[in-house]
Amino acid sequence: MSLEMTAGPPPSRRVKLPPQLLGSWEAGMLVFMAFLYLAGVLINPAFFGTTDAISAVLRDTARFGVMAVGMTFVIVNRDLDLSVGSTLGLVAVSFSILFAPTHLNLDAGTAMLICIGLGLLVGLINGLLVAILRVPPFIATLTMLFIGRGVVLGLTGGKTISYEIKARDYGFFAFGETNALGFNNQILIFLVFAIAGAVLLAKTRIGYETYATGGNDQAAQYAGINTRWVRIRAFLLSSLCAAVAGLMNVAQDKGVTSQYGQGAELIVIAAVIVGGASIAGGRGRVLGACLGAALVVLIDKVLREGVPTTRVIDVGGVKMEVAAMAQLPPGAVPAFLGLLLLGAVLLEPVVVRGNVLGRLKAWLLRQEAPASHDSGGIAIVGVKTMGAASDARGVGLRGFRAFLHRRDAAAIILMVVLWAAGFWLRPDFWGSLDNSFNLLLAFTEIGLLSLGLTYVIANGDIDLSVGSVLALSGAVAAFTMKELGGDPATAVVLALAAGVACGLFNGWLTAKIGMPAFVATLGMFYIARGLAAWLVSGRQLSAFPETYNLLGRNLSVVLESFGIHATGTFAAVARAVSVQTLFLAVVAGIAAVVLGATSFGQKVYATGGNERAASYAGINTQRVRLLSLVFSSLCAAAAGVIYVAYYRSFNPAAGQLRELDAIASVIIGGGSIFGGYGTIIGSLAGAAVITLIRALLSLQIFMSDGSSFVMPQHWMNVFIGLILLAAVIGDIWLRQNNIVSEWKRRRQARAQARHDTRATGVAA
């Protein structure tokens, strides 16, 4: 009897299992998309009213959709791949170089295979960096983004490659054409990837392993899942998808520009998150991500196509109505997409878990508000990886040996060595006043950015938006003086205020809402640069009042403008020292004292070391993190003001890639990407190292045969990217896990064991 009970009767009918491929979230998105498209038709019937528009939207969705399939695996794993856009560009450019008759002139099949291999290589590097070397995914893939972009620019030299005539002989390009059924073949490829990806993630062990790894990496490991391989696999898949998207792109356009894939990572990540995946990992579906891709591409199209308007113009006293398009300037679209990304990240934790709709309804009906589903904070915090684990090797040492055990020792030594190297390479020029002046100027911008970042990184956060905030502040200053006719003082105040606003937004999202800092500031990375381009309509502005430009001049010019003429040694010093250098010195001095000697500085380190412990100890950690992010943005804004004054003009590309330099400075200078460490002196030394590397790489080197060589700018950025990776890996493995002494210890233990066995052998 009891046996029968436990065994149970065989099920007479199949139990209905919950759906895995689709859910209510996807259904809601379909409805929303239909509304959005209708709105597009109403606003701009000329474009959205035609069937061509649907097929154009679908065609563009296809490429982003394919990338979203791979990205879903990465995000479900609780990782992030920022390098997909640049992988797409790299593959498109490589294919073009391999295939184009003007370059290597291979056949299409070979070129395609090499490109897929290249894509997989990028994925493998990402995967190894993240899963084996434990570099946080956002920093590893962001660096890969910059490196890939640098390689693309270096390979193309910024030029277009085209091969329309040769392409006619190859079947490969049919992938980009419209087929007999009347739709583009790329849509077919997209469908194949979407279905294969959806089945893989929802129905197979590979997919289940992915969910387990993203949900709880440690539990998955205990259960015998090789989570490292699971994560590498996802990165491989993501890069493969990006490579396929790049091939789809060249198949369609039969040519390539260096701009391919720029900003694609934003659309793809936004698509996956809008599609219901969580940035905290463990949740997400491929079909949702595909629908998300369609939705984001649609929004992108609506923003780019513009709204038709009629403008009244006055021609010789006669008023005429002219049809025009109210369009966003190029570069402004990312501002909206950045906001969309942040909104998407907040959608699930705040709106759904916080039960905003239910509470709104209750508020409207004046009922008692229902409790939110999740009382204990937002589930997106806790993305922070691992804690530091260095030991106390330095305690009790004195003098130079104690110095060597400081975390910032490497940066200071490297700074001296690099300066000596410059002197050795070009003794005729390196030590001159001119060169020192230029070095100091280049140092100021990176140094200023690294000051704020030191606080943010010591707090355990990151600020990816410093370069963009620099651009926005510069744009505000330029706009105030040129378009609003404001005086220099107003321009400076408004520019700094813009920086503080960015910092408050970053801080609000990170500290109050609980969004991981790299997501919040990644959003700001796009938003601030988009706003900057929007403000100046994508143009370069120049010719500002000369009193403003004094902020970027050297002291002797400033003194002369006040009618003071310096003489002697003082004149020489005044020519080498500029206003910005003095400004940096003052700000750095204050920042160093505050971080090193006041209780606010201690609070910064405590928050970065163990936020929960700090908050139990009565520290308002939210306030500390918010203030640090505001300070970082303020420093970036000051750098932007100085940038405009120094160049006497503003270019929307100001400060591009500067976040790379600044983060590298702080890490080289002893900061840890996991928080809790970093000093101002170290960061300044790190900034000097980066400045010197850039200066050394741009030195004209004279060979013995009389020829000379200068490294192009694009390759230099690739090099700086590699240095950032090396710094982060060095920090994790040398400073924190101390593999050198671990290796020594093991070697000694082995030698001891060998000795012991030999001894016992002799004794026997």
Partner: protein
């Protein structure tokens, strides 16, 4: 009869549909060591978090020295001399021993700067009062062993002369030697008049240093006994099959037994 230093009356706490604490009472006399035991999800940690203000209670009163309090965060209860030592010690590994002992309360000079000489001086004094040998107050906490880290956490708790110290699973991840040392430390604190609450699974430890033991089950009081008048066996029975009917006060249980 003296006023209890801590009295909790009729504490109620719910998380959504889960009722974590229903009508729980607790009292603690000055200088007394109370063991708080119970199965997993009995509500021990929740009760302590309500006491320190990490959670806000849904009902009932918390009295410190006979006065009703409404703590909103752990550092408010700390201001009244209630310290808690968390199971994971809640230390900042990147900071040194001295900085951790004064976490969030670093002594100031000129109202702005951290008074480092004073901080390390007092840290050393506290550690010697605890009779623990940490090599140097300049050592980073992450390089210390688990037992030493706990010593730092205890040093932090007693550095401001608390009246009550709460230990959350203090012996859970300690070696036998470290456990012995910890129990000595507890007795030492008792001699200095500090009342203590110990949350633990290990009855042996509580029976070694405790004065009284209180058992919770599924968020309810199921028993309260003096260590001197009970056995580990009786306490185990209460943990496994206690009911609100067995929840006599320690005095009642003592009289009943006698």
């Amino acid at each position: 009869m003296t006023t209890p230093i801590i009295a909790m009356r009729g504490i109620v706490k719910t998380f959504g549909a889960v009722q974590a604490l229903r009508d729980v009472n607790l009292h603690l006399m000055p200088g007394e060591i109370l063991g708080l035991v119970g199965d997993n999800s009995a509500g021990k940690s929740t009760l302590m978090k309500v006491l320190t203000g990490a959670y806000t209670r849904d009902g009932g009163d918390v009295l410190v020295n006979g006065e009703i309090t409404h703590f909103k965060s752990p550092h408010e209860s700390r201001d009244l001399g209630i310290e808690m030592i968390y199971q994971d010690f809640a230390l900042c590994g990147n900071m040194d021993v001295g900085q951790n002992i004064f976490l969030g309360r670093w002594p100031k000079r000129f109202g702005l700067f951290v008074d480092r000489p004073k901080m390390y001086e007092e840290a050393r004094a506290v550690l010697s009062r605890l009779k623990v040998d940490v090599n140097s107050v300049f050592q980073k906490v992450e390089s210390l062993s688990g037992g030493r880290q706990q010593s730092v956490a205890i040093a932090r708790a007693i550095s401001f002369n608390p009246k009550v110290v709460i230990f959350d699973e203090p012996t859970a991840n300690l070696s036998v030697m470290a456990t012995e040392r910890l129990l000595e430390t507890m007795s030492e604190l008792k001699r200095q008049g500090v009342a203590q609450i110990i949350i633990s699974h290990r009855l042996t430890d509580i029976f070694e240093v405790g004065d009284r033991i209180m058992v919770l089950k599924r968020g309810e009081n199921v028993g309260d006994r003096y260590i001197a008048h009970t056995t580990e066996r009786e306490v185990l029975e209460l943990i496994v099959s206690g009911t609100p009917e067995t929840a006599l006060t320690a005095e009642e249980a003592m009289k009943k037994a006698a």
